[in-house]
C-alpha cells in the first residue's frame, strides 16, 4: 500500500512539474511544408567560432540558393527549405568547404555543425573546395513533436497502401478505426489533414476528405503529439502532406499497379447463427495507371509538377443464401465443434462494387528572388461508385446504390524573407471543396425502407428472392430436407427503400499568415506571430426514401406484450410497426388551438390531415419531410504567438499560446424565423449563432535539450492544450431544423374478429402498397418526437479540448539510425456533447460540469415573466393567468425549464478519456538504399468518451452522439475503450542490393503485431435502440486475439541511363494469409435492458428485461445467438504487381 501511495504521489508530481515550467513558457516552429537548418561553424585552426562565414544551402528541391552569414558563436540559421537532400557550402577566409547529404524534412529542424580548417587551405589553389564527409544528424532539434515522416523511399519500397490516407497508420502506436488511422487514443475523426498548407479535413464529421496517391507526394509528416501553437483544431494527430514540386531538370515517373482477383486468397466465412444470408467480399481486380512529371518553366525561377492517376477497383460482393442442417432430424440445427451452425448453400448472387477514382495534381513553384517565393497547387480525387449497401439482408436487386464522392483543393502560398533572413512572412490561402452524392439506382429503392425486426423464414420473401432460387428454404415444401427446423431463418430483413441518403457539399475557405522574427537576446529567439481564419460550409440535403422508415416489431416488443401462448411467434398476432419520419414544422398552433389541446377533450383537438402530427411540445403542427435541407456555416479564427528560445546551442525552450474561436451558425433557412415552441404559447426567434466557443486558449510549453551538444540526441518534454474543431454535422443535425417522430402503428394488434379492426393496420410483406396502407391505419400513437428543430446551447459552454504531456528522448545510436523513447499522457478535461432535457429539448453543453450560476441567471430571467403573468402574486401561474397572457407564461415555462435542465447537467457522468503510452522507436534516415521504421507501443486507453464517434455503434455524429443524452445511457461506459491496443509493434524496412550494371534488387517488408480489441456487453435501450446500453462495464468482455500480418515487397530495377530506371515489382499483402478475428459481436441481447452497474458475468445471468412500455419484467434477457462470435476478420492474402519508369 505504501509503495502504491508513493507511486501515486510521483504521478501527481508530474502536473506540478509542468506547472513550474509555465514560468518559462515558449515555442517555435517552422512552416508546415518546409524544414529548416541551423548549426555552428567552427574553425579548427583557431579553435574558435567562425564568425562571418557564408553558409549556402543548395538542393535540387530548392529554387536558387539560400544564404546565411554566421553570427556570434558561429551560428547560422536557414529557414523555409523545401524537403530534400541539401549541400552546404561554407565560404570562410578565402577557403571553400562543402558538406553534402544534409536531409531536410518537413516541419523539422536539422542541426548541422561544421568544423572547417582555415589552416588546411594553406598552399592550395584559391577556389579549391574542401569536401567534408559525414551526414547531418537526424534528430529534430527544433521541436518536441512526436510522429513519423513518410517519404517516397518508404512508399516505393515498403508494401503499403496506394495513398497517404492508408500509409499514415505506419506511425508508432497508430491503429485503424472505422474512419481511418487514429493516434494516441483519439479517434480518427479528431485528426486534421493538411495538404499544401491548407486544412482539407472534411467539414462534415472530421474525416479524411482529400486523398492523393504516393507518387504525387514529396513527404507526409504525421504529427501525433507535442506540436506547437501554429497547429490547432485537432485533438488527434496532424497529417501534413507536401506534394512534389518541379526542379531545374525534368523528372517524373510512369507507373502501373495491378491486383488480380485470382490471386486473392479465399476469405474464411464468417458464420452467423440465425442468418441465412451470408456475404463474401473478394477483389475482382484493381489497377492504377498514372504518371507525374516536373520540371522547369524558367530555370531557378518557375517550376511545375503535374500528375494524373486513375484508380479502378472492382470488388465482387457475393450474397449467399444458406440453409441450416438437421441431419438427425432432432429439431435442433447441427453445429460444428465450436457451436457454429453447419450450413448448405442454397443460392449465390454476385454484386459488383464499381469504384473509379481520378487523382490529379498540378503545382507551380516560383522564386521571384532568393527572398520571395510562391507556389500554387491544385489537387483532387473525384470518385464515382456503385456500391452495394453494407446491409445485404435485403433483395439483391435493391442493394446497390450510387455514391459519388471526392474533393478538390486549391492552395496558394507566398513566403518573403526580409532583414537578411531574420524576418519572414508566410501567407497561405486555400479553398477546399468536398462532396458526396448518394442516390438510388432503381425506383424500388426510392420507397420507404421496410424492416422486419425479428427472425422469420427467408421464404416469406420468396417473391423478392426468387421462388426457384430459394426453394430449399420453404419449410414444409417439397424440397424440405429438414422438416423439424426453420431452414432459412433471417433477422432484420429489409426491403424497398434505402433509408437516409445524402447529397452534400463541404467546403472551406481558409487563409493563414505568420510573421517570424529572429532576435538575439540571452541566446537566440525565434518569435512567431500568426493567425488563420476559416469559413466552412456544410450544405446538406438528407433524403429519406419514401419519407419514412418502417419497422415491424416482434411480438415481445409490442406495447401490449401480446405474444401468443406458443412463445414469440410474431405471426400469431397482427404485427405492430414503428414508423420513423422526418418532420418539418408546417405551422404554429394558434392560442385557441393550444388551449383546446390542453383541455383534455380530444374532440376539441385540431383536425390533422394524413401525415400531420402535433410537434414541438404541443405548439406546432408538423408534417413529413422527405428532404431535410440545411445549409450551414462555421467560422473559425485563431491567433498565436510563440517563441523558440535557444538559450544555449543545445538547449531550446519553446513557448507558445494559441487563441481560437469557433462560431457555428444555424441553418440559413431558420435564421430570422421563430422556433417551434418547447413550451406551448411562446416562440423564440432562432438565434443566428448555434454556438459560439470563445476564449479557447491553448498554451503550449516544451523544451529540447541535446546532451551530446552535436545534434545527435535530445531529451524533450511538452505540455499543451489542444482544442477540437467542431465538425459541422452538429450544425446540420442539431441546428438544421431536424425533427423526427417515432410512432407505434397498430399497437392494438386487433384481429379481424375484434371491433374496430382495420385491414390497413394489419399489413405484412406482400401487402400491396404497404407503406400507403399503413398511412391509412388510424391506430397510431406517437411514441417520441426527437428534437425541436434546433438545440439550445447552455450559456458558458466550453470548447472540447485535450491536454497532453510528453516526455521523451532520442539518440542517434549509429549514423543515420536513431532510437527513441517517449511517454505520452493525454486526457480530455472538457467534452462538448448534447443531453436530453425533460421537455424533450436537446441541449448542447459540457455534461458533468456545473452550470448552476447560469441556471440562476435563467431563473432570474424567468422570474421577470412570472411577475408579469402572476397577477395575484401567489408565485404560480393559474390557468386563467396563463390564458390571459399565454406568450409570457410560455416564456416563463421555457426559461424555468431550461434553468432546471441547466442545473441537472452536473448530475451526468463527466466524459473523460485517458491515454497513457510508452513508445520505443527506431528510425533510420530514409535513403535510397535502405530504411528501418520500427516501433513498439505499450498503451492504455480508458474512459467513457471514445471521441467523435462511438466505435461500438459507429455513430459518427461528432459532439451529438447518444452516449450522454440520458444519465442511464452513460452508466458503465467508463472502461477500456475499444481503440485500446495495449501492445502494438510495427516494423517497416527495405534493403536495396545494387548489382551495378545488372540492376538493383529491392526487398522490403512490413510486419504488424497488435493486441486485440477490448469488447463490451451491449444491450438495447428502450428509447435509443440497439447497443446503446453497456450492460457490464465497458471493455470487460473478453479481449480479441492478438493479430499479426506480414507484407512483403520485391522489386527489380534496371538503370536505362543516368536518372532513368525501369522497375518491376510485386507486393504480397498478408503473406501468410492470417485471417484472425478483428472484431466480434458485442450485442448481448436485443431485448430492452438497463445497465448492471459494476456488474460481472454472474450478475448478467440475472439481468431482467423491460417490456414494450419500458416496465421491468421478471424474465431474463434473451441472449443473442451470435454474442461473442467473430464478426470481422483480417483481409485475406492478395498480390499486387507493378511497373515503374522513373526519369
Amino acid at each position: 500500500m505504501k509503495k502504491l501511495a508513493l507511486a501515486l504521489m510521483a504521478v501527481g508530481l508530474l502536473p506540478a512539474a509542468a506547472s513550474l515550467l509555465d514560468t518559462n513558457e515558449v515555442f517555435a516552429q517552422t512552416g508546415s511544408s518546409v524544414g529548416s537548418l541551423r548549426g555552428t561553424i567552427n574553425d579548427k585552426a583557431t579553435k574558435e567560432a567562425a564568425i562571418g562565414a557564408t553558409v549556402v544551402a543548395t538542393s535540387p528541391s530548392l529554387q536558387g540558393e539560400q544564404v546565411a552569414i554566421t553570427e556570434d558563436g558561429g551560428q547560422y540559421f536557414i529557414t523555409s527549405l523545401p524537403p530534400g537532400l541539401y549541400t552546404l557550402t561554407v565560404y570562410y577566409n578565402d577557403a571553400t568547404f562543402s558538406r553534402g547529404n544534409v536531409l531536410i524534412q518537413v516541419g523539422k529542424e536539422a542541426v548541422v555543425n561544421v568544423t572547417v580548417d582555415s589552416g588546411a587551405t594553406a598552399g592550395k589553389p584559391k577556389g579549391e573546395v574542401i569536401t567534408i564527409q559525414g551526414t547531418a544528424p537526424i534528430v529534430d532539434q527544433g521541436s518536441t513533436k512526436t510522429g513519423l515522416s513518410i517519404t517516397e523511399d518508404y512508399t516505393r519500397n515498403i508494401p503499403t497502401a496506394r495513398t497517404f490516407g492508408g500509409t499514415i497508420s505506419a506511425t508508432a502506436g497508430s491503429t485503424k478505426d472505422f474512419f481511418g488511422a487514429n493516434f494516441s487514443g483519439a479517434t480518427s475523426l479528431e485528426n486534421t489533414y493538411i495538404i499544401e498548407g491548407i486544412n482539407t479535413t472534411d467539414t462534415s464529421n472530421g474525416a479524411l476528405s482529400s486523398n492523393l496517391p504516393n507518387e504525387f507526394l514529396q513527404e507526409t509528416e504525421i504529427i501525433t503529439g507535442g506540436y506547437n501553437a501554429e497547429y490547432g483544431r485537432a485533438t488527434g494527430g496532424i497529417v501534413n502532406v507536401v506534394t512534389k514540386g518541379g526542379s531545374n531538370e525534368f523528372h517524373g515517373s510512369v507507373y502501373g499497379y495491378y491486383s488480380p482477383g485470382g490471386l486473392v486468397a479465399d476469405a474464411q466465412r464468417i458464420v452467423r447463427e440465425g442468418q441465412s444470408i451470408d456475404s463474401e467480399s473478394k477483389l475482382n481486380y484493381s489497377y492504377d495507371v498514372g504518371g507525374e512529371v516536373g520540371g522547369p518553366i524558367i530555370k531557378d525561377k518557375l517550376w511545375f509538377h503535374v500528375g494524373f492517376n486513375p484508380s479502378i477497383r472492382r470488388l465482387n460482393e457475393a450474397r449467399i443464401v444458406n440453409q441450416q442442417i438437421d441431419k438427425n432430424q432432432d429439431g435442433v440445427p447441427d453445429t460444428d465443434a465450436n457451436g457454429a451452425p453447419l450450413l448448405e448453400q442454397v443460392n449465390r448472387q454476385t454484386l459488383v462494387d464499381k469504384q473509379n477514382t481520378y487523382y490529379f495534381t498540378a503545382k507551380i513553384n516560383g522564386a521571384i528572388n532568393q527572398n520571395n517565393q510562391f507556389s500554387v497547387s491544385f489537387t483532387g480525387n473525384p470518385e464515382t461508385r456503385d456500391a452495394p449497401s453494407t446491409n445485404l439482408l435485403r433483395p439483391a436487386d435493391q442493394t446497390v446504390f450510387g455514391d459519388n464522392t471526392g474533393a478538390y483543393d486549391l492552395s496558394a502560398k507566398y513566403t518573403s524573407k526580409l532583414n537578411e533572413g531574420k524576418t519572414q512572412i508566410d501567407v497561405v490561402a486555400g479553398y477546399h471543396k468536398g462532396y458526396e452524392d448518394q442516390s438510388p439506382l432503381t425506383a424500388g429503392q426510392n420507397q420507404a425502407l421496410v424492416r422486419y425486426n425479428y427472425e422469420r423464414s427467408l421464404y416469406d420473401f420468396a417473391d423478392l428472392e426468387g421462388t426457384n432460387s430459394i426453394a430449399a428454404c420453404q419449410d414444409g415444401g417439397p424440397g424440405d430436407k429438414y422438416q423439424m427446423i426453420r431452414n432459412c431463418p433471417v433477422s432484420q430483413y429489409t426491403e424497398s427503400g434505402l433509408g437516409t441518403l445524402e447529397k452534400r457539399d463541404n467546403n472551406r475557405t481558409s487563409i493563414t499568415a505568420s510573421l517570424t522574427q529572429r532576435v538575439k537576446a540571452a541566446g537566440y529567439h525565434t518569435f512567431k506571430v500568426g493567425g488563420d481564419a476559416e469559413i466552412s460550409t456544410y450544405n446538406a440535403n438528407r433524403y429519406l426514401t419514401g419519407g419514412q422508415y418502417l419497422l415491424r416489431l416482434s411480438c415481445n416488443e409490442l406495447p401490449s406484450g401480446a405474444c401468443d401462448d406458443s412463445g414469440m411467434d410474431p405471426a400469431a398476432v397482427p404485427g405492430a410497426w414503428i414508423g420513423y419520419q422526418n418532420l418539418q414544422e408546417e405551422r404554429k398552433l394558434t392560442p385557441a388551438e393550444i388551449a383546446a389541446l390542453a383541455d383534455g377533450d380530444p374532440s376539441n383537438d385540431p383536425t390533422l390531415a394524413a401525415g400531420q402530427i402535433i410537434c414541438a411540445g404541443g405548439g406546432s403542427i408538423c408534417n413529413r419531410a422527405q428532404n431535410l435541407i440545411a445549409n450551414t456555416t462555421n467560422r473559425s479564427l485563431a491567433a498565436y504567438v510563440s517563441d523558440s528560445w535557444q538559450i544555449r546551442p543545445n538547449f531550446t525552450v519553446n513557448l507558445g499560446i494559441r487563441y481560437e474561436q469557433q462560431v457555428g451558425y444555424v441553418a440559413d433557412k431558420l435564421k430570422g424565423t421563430q422556433t417551434p415552441s418547447v413550451e406551448a404559447g411562446y416562440n423564440e426567434m432562432y438565434p443566428d449563432r448555434a454556438y459560439s466557443l470563445d476564449n479557447l486558449w491553448a498554451p503550449r510549453i516544451g523544451f529540447v535539450y541535446d546532451p551530446t551538444n552535436d545534434g545527435k540526441a535530445k531529451i524533450f518534454g511538452h505540455w499543451g492544450r489542444f482544442y477540437e474543431n467542431v465538425p459541422m454535422r452538429l450544425n446540420v443535425r442539431a441546428f438544421g431544423g431536424e425533427i423526427q417522430s417515432q410512432e407505434v402503428i397498430n399497437g392494438g394488434g386487433l384481429t379481424p374478429a375484434d371491433a374496430g379492426y382495420n385491414p390497413n393496420c394489419n399489413v405484412d410483406h406482400g401487402t400491396p402498397n404497404l407503406a400507403s396502407a399503413l398511412d391509412m391505419c388510424a391506430d397510431r400513437q406517437t411514441q417520441a418526437i426527437y428534437g425541436q428543430g434546433v438545440e439550445s446551447t447552455t450559456k458558458g459552454t466550453k470548447g472540447q479540448y485535450s491536454q497532453e504531456f510528453v516526455l521523451g528522448s532520442e539518440y542517434e545510436i549509429l549514423p543515420d539510425i536513431k532510437l527513441g523513447l517517449n511517454w505520452i499522457h493525454r486526457s480530455m478535461p472538457s467534452v462538448l456533447e448534447d443531453v436530453l432535457s425533460p421537455t424533450g429539448e436537446y441541449i448542447l453543453t459540457n455534461p458533468g460540469q456545473n452550470f448552476d450560476s447560469y441556471a440562476a441567471d435563467l431563473d432570474q430571467q424567468a422570474e421577470v415573466f412570472l411577475n408579469k403573468v402572476d397577477t395575484n402574486g401567489d408565485g404560480e401561474i393559474s390557468s386563467a393567468e396563463r390564458a390571459a397572457d399565454p406568450a409570457d407564461a410560455g416564456h416563463y415555462d421555457l426559461l424555468s425549464s431550461r434553468a432546471d435542465t441547466t442545473r441537472r447537467i452536473k448530475t451526468y457522468d463527466k466524459p473523460d478519456r485517458r491515454y497513457d503510452g510508452i513508445q520505443i522507436t527506431a528510425n533510420q534516415r530514409p535513403t535510397s538504399k535502405s530504411l528501418i521504421n520500427a516501433s513498439y507501443t505499450y498503451s492504455r486507453t480508458r474512459g467513457n468518451y471514445p471521441g467523435l464517434f462511438i466505435p461500438e455503434t459507429n455513430q459518427d455524429d461528432p459532439n451529438l452522439t447518444a452516449q450522454f443524452d440520458q444519465p442511464s445511457l452513460s452508466a458503465n461506459r467508463f472502461g477500456l475503450l475499444s481503440l485500446d491496443r495495449t501492445h502494438n509493434f510495427k516494423l517497416d524496412a527495405f534493403y536495396l542490393f545494387d548489382f551495378k550494371k545488372h540492376g538493383v534488387l529491392t526487398t522490403g517488408g512490413s510486419f504488424r503485431v497488435a493486441s486485440g480489441v477490448p469488447h463490451s456487453t451491449l444491450g438495447q435501450d428502450y428509447l435509443y435502440g440497439e447497443d446503446e446500453v453497456y450492460i457490464l462495464k465497458r471493455g470487460t468482455s473478453a479481449r480479441g486475439p492478438v493479430t499479426s500480418q506480414l507484407d512483403v515487397h520485391l522489386a527489380y530495377g534496371y538503370n536505362l541511363a543516368k536518372d532513368r530506371r525501369i522497375e518491376v515489382f510485386t507486393n504480397i499483402f498478408n503473406l501468410f494469409d492470417q485471417q484472425d478475428e478483428t472484431n466480434r459481436d458485442d450485442s448481448y441481447t436485443f431485448d430492452f435492458v438497463l445497465p448492471i452497474i459494476n456488474g460481472d458475468q454472474e450478475d448478467l445471468k440475472h439481468l431482467k428485461t423491460l417490456d414494450g412500455n419500458g416496465a421491468e419484467v421478471n424474465t431474463t434477457a434473451t441472449k443473442n445467438k451470435n454474442y461473442g462470435r467473430l464478426s470481422e476478420r483480417q483481409s485475406s492474402r492478395s498480390v499486387q504487381f507493378g511497373a515503374r519508369l522513373t526519369f
Binding site: L8, G567, P707, S809, L821, S968, I1092, N1094, A1111
Partner: protein, 381 residues
C-alpha cells in the same frame, strides 16, 4: 558516439519516463453513475407500486436521508421525469405510501451495491411444447430475503432480484422485488411492513447493517382503501348529459380491488325508474327486484371480480339469470329513464375483508359529490 556520461543521463531519464508511465495506468476513477461496492449494502429507497392507472410508476415509502446515491429526479422510459425521493432537500424523508394498488402491489428494495446474486433462483422458461426458451424467471421464495407482514400477519411472497433495476432506480439499480402471492388477499387499507433478513448480503458477504433496515427495523406502507373507480354508465354532473345505454347491459360498479359481492346489497343502493329528465323523482324499483350480482364469462367464472353489476329484475323481458351471458333477457327496461341512489350507509367490502363507506366524501375523486347516476335506456338491440 555519445559520451558515456551523456548516455548514462539519457538512460536514467528513459527509465524514469518508463516507470512513471507504467504507474500512471493503474486505476479508473469513480464516476457519478458508479455503485458503492465498498462497505455493507445499504438500502437507498423502498418503493411500492401505487400507480393504479398504468401499473408503471412506483412511489418511495422510504428514502435514506442525506445520501447522494438515492434516486431523486429520474428519467422514465417514456422520456418524462418523476421524483422518487425529494429532490430539493436531501434530508427529507419519503412520504409513506398509503395507496398501494390492492390488486397489483409489490415492494422494491433498492440497494447501493450489487447483492450476491444467489439471493435469486433462476428457473428456465419453457414454451408451449415444454422446450426451454433460453430465458429464465427469477424466484426468491426459497431464499426468503425479507419478512413481509400485513396487519401483523406474515404474507407469502415470491419475487426476483433485479441487478439493473428499472428506470426509477437510477442512478443505482440493484433491487429486490417482493411480490405477494395474492395481493388481493390483503384487505384494503391494511398496513404492511417489510423486514430485511440476514440472508441479504453483498458480493463480499456483508449484511445490511441493523441500523440501515428502516425505522425500527422495518419499512411501512399501506394498501389503498377500497374505492369505487367507475360506473357504467358514468355518473354525471349535469342531468342533461345523462348517457343512453342498451337495456341488455346491466349497470356496473367497478372498484379498485376484488369485492365481496355479498357486501353490496339493496341496503346500499336504491334504484328508480320513470325518472324525470332532470334526474329527479321516479318510482323506486322494489328491493326484491333489484338484482345485484357479478357477471359470469363464457366459462362460468366471474368475469371481473372487481366489478358488481346491478339489474332491474322487474323489467319487461328481464333475464332469468342476469349473471349468465347466455341469458339473452334484458337487464333494464327499454326506453326508460333510471336513477340509482346510494343510501347514507352504503358500504362495500373487499374479498379480504377490507371495507369502505361509499359516502363519496371530499377525499373521493370518483365520483364527485353529489353522486348522480342517472341514465336512459334505448330500445332493445
Amino acid at each position: 558516439m555519445i559520451e558515456t556520461h551523456h548516455r548514462g543521463r539519457a538512460q536514467a531519464f528513459c527509465f524514469a519516463t518508463a516507470a512513471v508511465a507504467l504507474l500512471s495506468a493503474c486505476s479508473d476513477p469513480t464516476v457519478k453513475s458508479d455503485l458503492r461496492p465498498d462497505g455493507p449494502p445499504e438500502v437507498l429507497t423502498v418503493m411500492v407500486m401505487n400507480d393504479a392507472e398504468n401499473l408503471y410508476l412506483e412511489s418511495a415509502t422510504f428514502c435514506k436521508l442525506d445520501d447522494d446515491k438515492r434516486p431523486t429526479e429520474v428519467f422514465t422510459s417514456n422520456g418524462g421525469l418523476t421524483e422518487v425521493c425529494p429532490l430539493d432537500d436531501p434530508s427529507a424523508p419519503a412520504t409513506e405510501v398509503k395507496d398501494a394498488v390492492p390488486t397489483a402491489w409489490y415492494v422494491r428494495i433498492v440497494f447501493d451495491e450489487l447483492l450476491n446474486p444467489s439471493i435469486e433462483d433462476l428457473v428456465p422458461d419453457t414454451d408451449a411444447s415444454g422446450d426451454p426458451t433460453g430465458t429464465y424467471t427469477g424466484h426468491i421464495v426459497d431464499t426468503h430475503p425479507v419478512e413481509l407482514k400485513c396487519g401483523g400477519v406474515a404474507v407469502d411472497y415470491d419475487g426476483y432480484y433485479s441487478p439493473a433495476g428499472n428506470y426509477q432506480t437510477w442512478p443505482v439499480g440493484p433491487s429486490l422485488v417482493i411480490v405477494p402471492d395474492d395481493p388481493t388477499a390483503i384487505a384494503t387499507g391494511t398496513e404492511c411492513t417489510v423486514t430485511i433478513n440476514d440472508v441479504v448480503k453483498d458480493k463480499s458477504g456483508e449484511q445490511v447493517p441493523a441500523d440501515q433496515r428502516g425505522t425500527n427495523g422495518e419499512y411501512k406502507f399501506k394498501i389503498a382503501p377500497l374505492a369505487l373507480l367507475s360506473t357504467a354508465p358514468g355518473t354525471v354532473t349535469d342531468p342533461a348529459a345523462a348517457e343512453e345505454v342498451v337495456p341488455e347491459s346491466p349497470v356496473t360498479f367497478t372498484f379498485n380491488d376484488v369485492v365481496d359481492p355479498a357486501s353490496f346489497t339493496t341496503a346500499d343502493i336504491k334504484m328508480f325508474k320513470g325518472v324525470a329528465a332532470d334526474c329527479t323523482g321516479g318510482t323506486q324499483v322494489p328491493d326484491a327486484s333489484v338484482e345485484i350480482f357479478q357477471a359470469l364469462n363464457d366459462d362460468g367464472d366471474v368475469d371481473d371480480p372487481m366489478s358488481i353489476q346491478i339489474a332491474d329484475g322487474s323489467a319487461a323481458g328481464a333475464a332469468v339469470d342476469p349473471a349468465d351471458p347466455a341469458d339473452m333477457g334484458l337487464r333494464l327496461d327499454e326506453t326508460e329513464m333510471y336513477r340509482i341512489d346510494l343510501t347514507p350507509t352504503a358500504s362495500v367490502s373487499d374479498a379480504a375483508g377490507g371495507m369502505t363507506m361509499l359516502d363519496f366524501g371530499d377525499d373521493g375523486d370518483m365520483p364527485p359529490k353529489p353522486f348522480i347516476l342517472c341514465f336512459s335506456t334505448s330500445a332493445a338491440q
